[in-house]
């Protein structure tokens, strides 16, 4: 368990580097960063936040089911967690597609007609947006892979009240990925919404 926490600390610093870059560039180009918020869909971002929170609840209920040797509940909650995780990735894919259609992918025909003076710094924000949400999405995909493993093992009746450490550890990882999104949502979607 402590090993998992140690790994998560390295993950905190990994994402922390990108959050630091975000803070620095935001300070350098406040106007450009504020001008990008009109392209961020708060409803989709908020929905995804809620979806991830639901997946964290089902994950912790899965750990609880394992602790109580309730195999059927464990399988049910693992499947629910995977459904919520996939729903999140689906919404994310839809958002990425909209960004592509609106020419907001930096370096690939980026267009910024409503505020051409911010053409370059605005690309920085979209670059950070794709880096941060992209790395987050990759973590989600890895998490879904780990959940698949848990599901297979749960079906094979490998977990019970005496042995459920893998469920607990992958649960920690899943919650961590949720926490990263909890910070990404206000920083990328909410800040500068009023302008």
């Amino acid at each position: 368990m402590l090993g998992m926490w140690t790994f998560l600390i390295t993950e905190v610093l990994f994402f922390g580097g990108m959050f630091g870059a975000y803070a620095v560039y935001r300070n350098m180009y406040p106007g450009a960063f504020a001008s990008t918020s009109r392209y961020m869909d708060v409803v989709l971002g908020g929905t995804n936040t809620a979806v991830l929170i639901c997946s964290s609840l089902t994950m912790v209920l899965a750990v609880r089911a394992a602790q109580l040797s309730k195999r059927k509940d464990l399988i049910l909650f693992l499947i629910l967690t995977m459904i919520f995780g996939s729903a999140f990735l689906g919404v994310k894919a839809f958002e990425y597609h909209s960004k592509w259609v609106e020419h907001l992918v930096p370096g690939f025909g980026f267009q910024y007609e409503h505020a051409p003076e911010y053409l370059h710094p605005a690309q920085l924000l979209f670059f950070l947006y794709f880096c941060m949400t992209g790395m987050h999405a990759i973590h989600m995909i890895v998490g879904l892979g780990l959940l698949t493993y848990l599901l297979v093992q749960a079906v094979r009746n490998q977990y019970n009240e005496y042995y459920f450490a893998p469920v607990e550890m992958i649960g920690l990882y899943w919650h961590f990925v949720d926490v990263v999104w909890i910070f990404l949502f206000p920083l990328l979607y909410l800040i500068g919404q009023r302008h």
């Binding site: 620095v24 300070n27 908020g46 639901c54 912790v60 042995y163 450490a165 926490v179 206000p186």
Partner: protein, 126 residues
């Protein structure tokens, strides 16, 4: 992780006697997280100037603490695990604060401060 002990009464690898959380507690935390999500979205619509980001980050920090404390079981964990948690936060703060303070003060180097004894440098800024 490799030990698959099924024999009852045998404390398998990695087991620490974590109390089983109540479903009511877990659902309450979930509800609080959803409420905070709505709250942060609602507050972002209000013009608070510089305070918008402060409020948004405080709400995010509260949500993250709830997840860590209950969902990730820090509440039931050992002092050592809690120490690891805090260490992670401290290192994150070193990373972000030092980087940010470097970049945000780079332009300061050659500006004469109001209290500077070098009056000519101060007046030349006007």
């Amino acid at each position: 992780m490799s030990t698959h002990a099924h024999a009852p009464g045998h404390a398998a690898s990695g087991q620490h006697h974590t109390p089983v959380p109540k479903v009511r507690t877990l659902v309450a935390v979930w509800a609080a997280l959803i409420v905070f999500t709505f709250l942060t979205s609602w507050v972002s619509e209000i013009e608070l100037g510089e305070w918008n980001i402060v409020v948004a980050l405080l709400i995010a920090l509260t949500k993250a603490s709830l997840v860590a404390w209950i969902f990730m079981g820090v509440r039931y964990s050992t002092t050592l695990t809690r120490l690891f948690c805090v260490a992670g936060l401290v290192w994150l703060m070193i990373l972000v604060l030092l980087t940010y303070s470097d970049y945000s003060t780079r332009g300061w180097t050659y500006q004469a401060a109001p209290w500077s004894t070098n009056k000519s440098a101060g007046s030349s800024l006007k």
